[in-house]
């Protein structure tokens, strides 16, 4: 069953069009993450779903019901805000019950709901406190509690973790994901953090300049980004995107970085990639390769030996993170990032040998920036 369907939604503020025709459909129980840089329109879209702003054009359906003209309170939604938006003069309990009070839920039912939710979120010790007496993580929990008591068709999260410190953010991320699994709710979650998107979503909509750039599951978004924007936005460190040339090699095709140079590198394309790359034979393309596809020379990628290609490249800089070492190198005149095992000592300024995983190469049309293979 579709929990949320958005069709042809447009919105402009004055002369600026912030949403340029958004279509999304989310099934019941899904965790949709809207991700994009600030100003991409993701928060506006969330406000339109919530009914806090009206779309200029298009329709919004929640639980198969057209809600364009339905008040926020009657949309059967609950929302968690970046600032938590806890009512400062009310206690935690009052914060949680305020919505039920507005909907005239009987006192007994209110108490039961508070009981259930506060135990679920482990905030039962805090019910009599004011928001100003809570830590950031506790406020976050209360904000979620306020949403949970409603048991809505749709949960909306507006960058709920941005105000937390890094450690707490990771904890709450896990907790929200567990909560989603436990209660099977449908969630629309807005963030600018691509790691949150990758870790929590069942489906991701990457937004940029008022348009959905790609709407797919996290694996597809990561491995087959629809265009260069998605390729560069998702993943940290980001995908290497360098200019290359498609040439024939033996009975197949290959991409060459730094064609014509003495240090040119040739990477064979997979059978699947050749279908799309054929039209670009002997033409320039943008080659996308994830940093983790460039590793120390004795690394094996998967069971298939042929995917691994040995290259030698000058090392320009290394960044040890502890778990791995990020290495900046030069291949065919282009700068690329690789990720090698932390016990490999690399000579900065000298040459080193690397293994390249050629199975997951992405090719983009340099003119349209779209994925071609």
């Amino acid at each position: 069953m579709s929990a949320l369907r958005i069709a042809g939604v447009r919105k402009r503020f004055g002369a600026q069009e912030v949403l340029k025709g958004i279509d999304l459909e989310v099934d019941s129980g899904e965790f949709l993450v809207l991700v994009g840089p600030s100003g991409c329109g993701k928060s506006t879209l969330l406000n339109i779903i919530a009914g806090l702003e009206a779309p200029g054009e298009g329709t919004v359906e929640i639980g198969s019901r057209l809600v364009n003209d339905v008040e926020p309170k009657d949309r059967d939604i609950a929302m968690v805000f970046q600032s938590y938006a806890l009512y400062p003069t009310m206690t935690v309990r009052q914060n949680i019950t305020f919505g039920m009070e507005c909907r005239n839920v009987p006192k007994r039912a209110q108490d039961e709901a508070v009981e259930r939710v506060s135990r679920l979120l482990q905030i039962d010790q805090l019910l009599h406190r004011k928001p100003s007496q809570l830590s950031g993580g506790q406020r976050q929990r209360v904000a979620m509690g306020r949403a949970l008591v409603r048991d809505p068709t749709l949960f909306l999260f507006d960058e709920p973790l941005s105000n937390l410190d890094a450690k707490l953010r990771v904890e709450m991320r896990l907790e929200i994901k567990q909560l989603h699994r436990r209660i099977g709710a449908t969630i629309v979650y807005v963030t600018h953090d691509q790691i949150e998107a990758m870790t929590m979503a069942t489906r991701i909509a990457v937004m940029h300049q008022g348009e959905v750039q790609q709407f797919a599951d996290p694996e597809t978004i990561y491995n087959r980004p629809a265009n260069l924007f998605v390729a560069r936005f998702m993943g940290a460190p980001p995908m290497n995107c360098v200019s290359a040339r498609v040439v024939s090699a033996g009975d197949g095709l290959a991409a060459v970085i730094g064609a014509g140079r003495p240090d040119a590198i040739q990477l064979p394309l997979s059978r699947e990639a050749e279908a799309g790359a054929g039209a670009f034979k002997d033409r320039a393309v943008v080659l996308g390769i994830r940093p983790e596809c460039i590793a120390e020379e004795d690394r094996r990628f998967g069971a298939d030996e042929r995917g691994s290609i040995a290259v030698e490249a000058p090392v320009e800089m290394t960044e040890p993170t502890g778990a791995e070492t990020i290495v900046l190198m030069r291949l065919g005149g282009e700068q690329l990032l690789g990720r090698v095992s932390p016990d490999v000592r690399l000579p900065v300024g000298g040459n080193a040998r690397f293994a390249v995983d050629a199975r997951k190469l992405c090719l983009f049309d340099p003119a349209t920036e779209r994925l071609i293979a």
């Binding site: 406000n47 806090l52 008040e71 926020p72 309170k73 805000f81 400062p88 009310m90 919505g99 507005c102």
Partner: protein, 292 residues
């Protein structure tokens, strides 16, 4: 960097003038209030004689009663009107800036002008009563300004007219400083506009209520020119206020000692309002520091 001598030149004269004028003259007035001074200052200590005589006078009793009526009426009415205007202006209406300026304008007018204009409006033979009667309601009466029991309320009206815009500006600033997400959360929770203001917004800006009330209250204690221009303290002494009593004792009757005693009593009234407020401000600062 300023030369050191210039720093001293800039700092010391104003400081000296302030100290002499504020602390010095306050101290001198207090000293005079304990002497038998009449037209010219004397230096004989007579204890609390002047205070006893001022506190026992009918003039002072009426002035204090009036101060209570005026203070309560003025603060309540001004707060109510200011808050109503602020909530109405908060509805994202067009021409908000123009309206805000218009409502604030009375503040720019001196109390003497307000008093004079309202004395004309309230004068039964030329003001509102005359106008309504002229429109055909022959039996209409609005003669509070010449009515002993009601005259003090005309001062409340004129004062509220002048200060409501100021209260509005403070309330509006407070309302606007409330996190916009709170409105959204309350809307999703299903609260209507009235409930959002009553339960979420207004409780969140309670410190502003205190500030507005304290500012208005210290206004009322100092009020002089408004009454002087509007009723002159009359009819009779029906709208007498402490400041008028001070003026009367000192400059009409030439009783410096008693006038000073009345002035010191006024200062005590003021401190009774301001000291708790400063204590409250300190308490909040400390509490906020604790909660980060």
């Amino acid at each position: 960097m300023l030369a050191p001598w210039l720093v001293h030149l800039v700092l010391w004269p104003p400081l000296l003038v302030s100290v002499v004028h504020i602390i010095g003259f306050t101290g001198y007035t207090t000293w005079i209030s304990f002497t038998s001074s009449t037209l010219i200052p004397e230096n004989d200590f007579v204890g609390l004689r002047n205070y006893n005589s001022v506190l026992a006078s009918r003039n002072w009793t009426i002035a204090t009663e009036n101060l209570l009526i005026f203070g309560t009426g003025f603060v309540v009415l001004t707060t109510a009107i200011g808050l109503t205007l602020a909530v109405l202006l908060d509805q994202r209406i067009r021409a908000e800036n123009v309206l805000r300026t218009i409502y604030l304008y009375p503040m720019a007018v001196s109390f003497v002008v307000t008093g004079t204009v309202w004395s004309w409006l309230l004068n039964p033979s030329i003001g509102i009563q005359k106008l309504v009667r002229g429109l055909g309601w022959e039996a209409f009466r609005f003669d509070w300004v010449v009515d002993r029991d009601m005259a003090i309320y005309t001062i409340v009206i004129a004062g509220a007219w002048q200060a409501s815009g100021f209260a509005m500006a403070l309330f509006l600033a407070g309302i606007r400083s409330v996190d916009a997400d709170l409105y959204k959360a309350a809307q999703i929770d299903g609260a209507g506009p009235w409930r959002i203001y009553r339960r979420v917004v207004l409780p969140a800006i309670w410190p502003i209520f205190i500030a507005v009330m304290v500012i208005l209250l210290q206004y009322t204690i100092k009020t002089f020119d408004l009454v002087r221009a509007l009723t002159g303290g009359g009819p009779g002494i029906a709208t007498q206020l402490p400041s008028l009593v001070v003026y009367d004792l000192m400059f009409q009757r030439g009783l410096l000692g008693r006038g000073s005693a009345a002035a010191v009593l006024m200062l005590l009234y003021l401190l009774a309002v301001l000291l708790p407020y400063f204590a409250f401000v300190q308490w909040r600062k400390r509490r906020n520091a604790r909660h980060g």
